[in-house]
Every structure is written in C-alpha cells, then in structure tokens.
Symmetry: D2
C-alpha cells in the first residue's frame, strides 16, 4: 500500500468539483480505486468527497502533490487533507479498570484488522498495566484525583504530544477538560455505554434496566466539550429481555462496546470520517 | 385450539408455586404444552408464570375451572387470569392519516398471523375510511378538535364499550386524556416512532436526524397517563447513515413501526405479556 | 425529479474513466448529485459506475445526450445505459396463491416507497384476482398445466410484450422455460424462500426445519435458466429456535420474503443494480 | 452459586411430568428459579425440560439427591442428568494457527462471562503456544501428519482423558476420526466458518464470494462422525457486499466465528443444550 493515497475534501457544493478532482489526478497518472461523495443538500449545501487512489512513487511525490493540489482546493474553497495509507496513525489508548475495549483494539491491531499503531496505553489506575506489558505496549499510570486534574492532564499531554495522532477513550472513566479537548478536535474517540441520546450520563445500564428497554446499545463518538453530545460515529444494539438484570446488561453491553469502538477507530485511522456540524459522514 | 387454555399469574415468590400449579392442572387431566416463568428477584421478588395447556371440554368446564383455581390463587396471593385461546380478542384500531400500521394489522389478521378480530377502525380523519371499507371493517370518523376533545373521547368510549378488548393506536396522532386511559390500563398499545427513551415527544425522526444517530427505531408500549413513558413491549431499529434525509428516516421508520406494532399486538392478544411496575415481562 | 438522470456503465478498468465522465457532464451543465463506483479488481478488472445527475431540460435533451455519450462510451468500451428517473418502470407481477409479496409491493408502491408502476398482475390461480381488483390493478388468470406450459407462457408474453419493463415473481410457483427467460435477462426478479444456496429447490422451510438451523432467510435474485442459481440481489434472515415448527417457519419466512423482495425490486427500478458474471453490484 | 443445581431431562411426553418434577423438588425444599420446557410434538412427542433450582447444602446432598431422583426418572422413562453450577466444566481447546477464537474464549473466561475452566490448549502447530503461555494455560503441541493421525489422536486422548469435560475446536483444521469422536458424543463443539448447510467443506469464504451472497455467517455445532452435519447449536450472519473480496470476508467472518463459538460454548457449559436426533434444543 506504499502507493495508496487518500484525499478528503469538503466545500460548498457547485458544478465541476468532481470533474476538477478527477482531472487533477488523471493528469498525474493516479488511478482512482475508490471514491465516495455526499451532498448535504443538492442545492447550496456542503459537498463531501473521499477519494482513494494509486500513484507510482507516491512517497517521494507526496509533498509536491499537496502543494499542487492547494491550487485546486483554493478555487473551490475546499477544506481538505491528503494522507498516505502507508503512514499508519499512532494511537494513545486511555483506560481505567475495564479491559475489554483495550483488548479488542490490541487484538484487532495484531490481526491486521485495525490499521494503526498503538503507541501507548495510559491508565488512571494501574490495573491494566499488565495487559499492556503482555503485549509489549508502553504503559503509563497517570493518577487522577479531584485536586490534581489539571496536572494529570498536563502529564498526559506531555506523553502524547508529537507522538500520537489520535486519542482513544477505551472505557476511560474520567471527564477531560475543555482545555485538553480543544486542540484534539475530532481526534478523540469515546465509547459511551448506551444508545445515545438515551441514557446520557452515569450508569446507563442501570438506567436502561429501570426503563425496561428491549434493546441496549453503545455509541462511539468524537469527544467535544459538550459531554456525550459530540458527533456520533457508530452505534449498535443488542436485544435484551426481562430475564436480564443490570449485571447481565453490563456483560452484554461489553460485547457491543468493544465492537462499536473498534469499528469507529478503524474508520478514523483509515480516514473514512468527515465531520459536518455535529454529525459525521462515514464513507465506510 | 378449542381446548387450549392459558393461565397467567404473578405473586410473591416462594417455594411450591410451580408444584401447586402443575398439580392443579394434572388432577384435572390438563396437559401443559408450554410454560414460562420469571422471578424478578430469586429472594423475595415477584414470581411470574404463563402456562398454556390442553384440556378436553375446556369450553364447558371453563367457568368451573376458574372458580376452582381461585382457591389456589388465594393461597399464594396471586394476581391471575385464565383465558381460552379460542376466544379471540376484539380490537379497536385508532388511526389518523397514515395507513401503514393499519394495513399491517389487517394483513396479519387476514393471513392468520395476528390471532384477533379487528372490531372497528376509528379515525380522527376520514382518510382511512376507504381502507377499512375495502376490507369490510366498520369505520367511524370521530373528529377531534381543541374544543371538543372530551366529547370526542366520549363518542369513542361509546363505540368501544362492551365491544372490544383492547385499543391499538396505529399512528393515532391525538393524545388521550387520563380519564379515558385509566379504565383501559395495559389494554391500550401505542407505537411511538423512535427508540424510546430517546426522542420523546413530537417529530422524533427530525430529532434523530438533527442528532445524527446511526440507528433509528420504533417502540410499542402500553399507554399510561405519563406520555411516552408507559411499559415498553417491543422495540426495534434500523441502520441509517448520512445519505438519509428526514424524509428517508420517516420512510424507513414506517417499516419498523408496522413490524414492531404488529409484534406487540400479537403478543398482547395471545396473553404473552405481564406487567410489573413500569416494565413488561414478555413470554414471546 | 423531471431533471434527474442516471448513467450506469461498466467497462475494462483503466485511468481516466471518472475524469471523462465527470467532464462530459460538467460541459453540459449537469450536476452530479450521487456517484458510486466499484472495481472488481484494481488492476485489470471491470470498472462499474452509477452516476445520478440533475440537468435542466433533461426530457427534451435526453435523446441528444445519449447520442453524444455514445462517443465517450465507445472510447472506453463501455456497456452503458442512461435513464430518466421520471420515467417509472412498469412491472408485471406474477403470483400464485400467496398474497403477502403482492400486497407488500402494492403497499410500497402506493406509499411512494416503490418508485414504479404495477402494470398488471398475472396469476396461475384465480385466488388473488380480488386483491388486484381491490387496488384497481388489471388481473389476468393464465392457467398453467403440465400439457399447456408453452401456450401459457406465450399468453403471458403477449400480455407483457411492449407493456412492462420488468417481471416480478411474487411467490409464483411455476418454473419458467429458458425460452421465456432469455429475452428478459436480468429483468426477472424472483423471491426464493430460503437463504440460498442453502435449501435449493422445493419446500425450503421443511428442509430448514429438518436441518435444525437457527436462522431462516429469503433471497431475491435475478432469474436465469439455471434454477435458483441466478445473481443474488438481496438476502435477509430471522432468528428461529426449537419452538418453531415448519408452519411457524413459513409464517416468519413470509415476513422476510416480502421485505427482501420489495427491497430488491426497489433497487432494480431505481437502476441501482449492475450484474457481473453471476453476481450483482448493488449501489444501494 | 454453591447451592445452584440444574436438572435436564427428556422423555416421552405425557401428563404429569411437570407436576412430578415440581413436587420432587418442593418436598426437598428446593426453590425452582428458572425452568424451560419444550415438546417436540404435543401429542406423542418428546418432552424436554431444564430446571434450575436453589437448595441449601446442595454439595453434601447431591449424591443422595441423584439416587432419589432416579426413581422419578424411571417412572417416566427419562434420560436425565443433574449438575451443580459450582462444578465448572473443564475444556480442552484445540487450535491450529488462527488465534481469534482461542483469544475470545480466554477473554470471556477471564471476565467471568464464560463459566468454565480452560484446562489446556492443544495445537497441531506451535504458533499459538505463546498465546496460551501468556495466559498461563498449559499448551501441548501435537503434530498431525498424514501418516501419524491415529497416534496423534491417541496422544490427545491421553492428555484429555479424565481431565476435561468437553473439547472445543477453535478453528482446529484437522478432521477427527470417528473412533475419536464417538466416546465424546455431544461434548465436542466445532465452529464452521459458514452459514451451514451452505458451503459445506473447504474454503467456505471463497465459496461464498464466488456465489455472491449478501450475508456471510458462522455455525457452531456438535461434532458427529458426519462432517459438518452435526446438530447446530448457534449461527449468526453479517452483511457483506460487492466491495468485499475473499480476504475481507475472512476478516469479517472472524468476528462472527468467535462470537458464535463463545455463545455455543457458554450454553454448553451452563447445561442449556439438549439434543434430539440431529437438532438441538437450546434453553438460552
């Protein structure tokens, strides 16, 4: 996949965008292997596109290609980025005590299903240090207490700065501050253990049990400064019934959480997600 | 199914309930063909049971059987009811303008999947009169306006009184008053066009669209005096994505609504639902 | 949708196809609102594309547009067709005794979900004549017996010739001859009541019951001269268990059949399906 | 769960079975906490029942309880077994090179979701020795070649004899001989990587790809001497489309396989499965 490039754009919709993009790549002997597009509104909306292409010598030509594309982008007022598939994204996985989401990410990464590098695991408890160690992943314990929250976040910031491309909250039970979140906009993914927007906040499985729902779910979303309200990336549900107590719901829920999170992370690292307002466009 | 009986009970959990029920039926030459039980809490909770049995000459023996069972029931402080499968429940289907839920109920009734009789269709608009007529169902138009609500409900009450066993709100867009609802407790089923408790209230598909969820759903529930908060009977969901606009969500939603409602009504008329507090026990 | 056009192409994959198509449409002031592409194999495979576009005055310009496009098509050795969304496809629905698939198509057509016209219903039994009549659809009874098969097919051929665009076998229990099928290649859709290729042939629900499967399904496919082996368009399944007897499987199956068939027909009439060898590419 | 017992029976159906069982347990102060029953045919079929009960001092009374129950069992010609929930079943997991199913079983066992002990891992390749070691599980490498098959099976037999209660084939790519299988009837579980009976035999994902199915699946079943034809315990499917090549199918399939296998093993070790002929009754 050395020669595989990805181009993501969004811009005001108007005629000629696809023609210009296709022409730009064709002139440079790039072959479009996948492309997806979406218009938020055919008349006067926002146009989104993801193009995957193959180009000989992409690694060497990549900087030049970006400079050249900037001209096209300017003409159409595009927000855009170009990525090389071969440059795997590096992840910091933040955890607390529950291991299932971390294990899933590790397992999928090892099997080649998750095309990323797990750069480090950071825990506010020591519990999962052993899991990280078992798989030769650096583990850092950053204790978070009521009175040291900003120091703890500063410590995390130091660990990840310049070292990772995205932060995955794999059942990390701390709320990050707005100051921490802002520079990482749309690069922090959280797994919430309910079908949002049902059961926002604490103890969602207990809430689900109390309401007597027949399906429970999990939601992976980008973290914004508005708790549990960031753009939803993926959701799934599982059937439950009167025989399930809150502990059963948590058990079943773990299966949904790990799968939903892994799917969301996978799409993120393969540059398949664009954000518009508070929604995602996922070219899965 | 002339000889098929159903016994539904709930009572404080304690040893010996099953033995007593089984003994009662065995003595009377009844053969248990299905049985389901559930304890809300093994120690000191509520015990639920549904038994389906076959008994020669059930129709003739039914009244006596109920009198005799009252003794067993008293001993265990049971809430209970006994039903004959052959006595089909009669339904009043309340509608407004959308036909999909009504059509589904009619179709399933005709095909024998819904074991009930549709006694009448009542609409607060005239639009669906033709559908009812096509299938030879009595249709009554009961106009509901801001200033005639209680009269309208009185009219509905007259139409159904002594004539139906349950009321199905098949996309009926009026809110029933508490006075109307109370005597029909757990015998009115509504289909709400969202995955409750997400998107309570009006325009749930628009709400779902605005929040950018990846699954939309529908919820069938018993109607209580607390709007959209009654015991949930059944829910289901369908995957959507960024390509779907609110109109698409409504279209996909219609498919979920009709299936979820039909399933809930089917369980109700086959006496498969028990209610505990604000939850249902469904022995599907 | 008067100005909505659709262009479907398949051709040997090579650089420049997208650029040429996009340029062709851009020059003519057509705005691409949706596009989907697929390559069976990035190097040396077959390239598939479906483009939906908006163009002022499409109805008047349509013939010229097709002539002009023929040049582009020739250069890339394309198989192609261009369609106007406003020109609804006309369907002949063939039935036997079971009504559920027919009713589903009628219902979805009436609600606007199925964008087609039902030109006629043809039954080899008279049973569903009443259903067709109820919805003001022409019904023709064409009896099929062992000794009059070719005459019967000739009669059907006369009824549909020049009058319909596609044939839907909505639980039509007769096998069509190769001679009948050939001129309608990829324009006859059948619903098979199993998850193909499991349970080919007769009585699939009984076969499923005997094998003790935990999911039953249905398959919509294009009819080819090879029985039950044509390109699969859509499949779905539903969970069953030991409590379900063959009659239950048939009942549950009916729900899957009608939904799967309706989805397949919907994709067909919106020109969302391309065929490669014995497989479909569905741009749903 | 020291006091939790399970009773599984099957016998010719006739009146009085439930009453006798319930009476037997009630006399001994056992409280029935769950019960499930099924009749293969209400008149003259086979009756199946699973009862879970709580009884003070079960461990001490267990042998006597079984002796006493033998009388009841004899009267009704029951096949039966009684189990203590506290006595976890011991598993031998047989593997080849693929780790996903093994990892899933280990993970679920560690988290408490799989209520069993993994007694050992046996591989016909050395590849997964490291995984077993990491989790402190005994690993045995038993090479299987064309000319040493019976010796290899003898070696496996020695390792497991008297030491395990069930054998799990977690993507074990060898076919076991009839001689090996027979003494372990309904105690060997295999995961087949297709939706059986579609795609029996080798390379099912390639077969699925070639046929162009829209759903792929996995099947957990008891191993009998008839290859891929034993009683099905559980199945599930996942949607695929034209964009997925055989490698994608294998990747998606791995996710289904591990979940389906873990579910089947879980039901087996909790004594939730009864077998009738070539089918399972699963009281999940």
């Amino acid at each position: 996949m050395t020669n595989t490039g990805r181009l993501l754009i969004s811009c005001p919709d108007r005629p000629g965008i696809v023609a210009s993009l296709a022409h730009f790549l064709y002139e440079r002997n790039a072959n479009i292997t996948h492309s997806d597009q979406h218009s938020s509104d055919p008349s006067g909306g926002v146009f989104f596109m993801r193009i995957q292409f193959e180009m000989e010598g992409l690694t060497e030509r990549f900087d030049a290609l970006q400079r050249e594309f900037a001209d096209v982008a300017k003409r159409f007022e595009m927000k855009w980025r170009m990525e090389r598939a071969a440059k795997l994204k590096r992840l910091a996985v933040l955890v607390s005590r529950e291991e299932h989401c971390l294990l899933e990410l590790i397992w999928q990464q090892r099997s080649g299903d998750l095309k990323a590098e797990i750069a480090m695991v950071i825990g506010n408890h020591k519990s999962l240090g052993q899991v990280a160690e078992q798989y030769n992943l650096p583990f850092y314990h950053v204790d978070v207490k009521a009175n040291n929250k900003s120091e703890a976040e500063k410590r995390i910031q130091e660990l990840i700065s310049g070292n990772v491309d995205a932060i995955i909250l794999a059942r990390y039970m701390q709320i990050l501050s707005s100051d921490f979140i802002k520079p990482w906009e749309y690069r922090i993914i959280n797994i919430h253990h309910s079908f949002l927007p049902a059961f926002v906040g604490a103890k969602p499985y207990q809430q689900a049990y109390d309401r007597g729902v027949k399906l429970i779910g999990a939601t992976a979303h980008y973290v914004t400064t508005d708790l549990d309200a960031g753009p939803i990336i993926e959701q799934d549900v599982h059937r439950v019934d009167h025989r399930h107590d809150p502990e059963d719901l948590r058990r079943i829920g773990r299966q949904i959480e790990r799968v939903v999170l892994a799917r969301a992370v996978s799409w993120h690292v393969e540059d398949k997600i664009l954000v518009l307002g508070n929604k995602t466009v996922v070219f899965a």
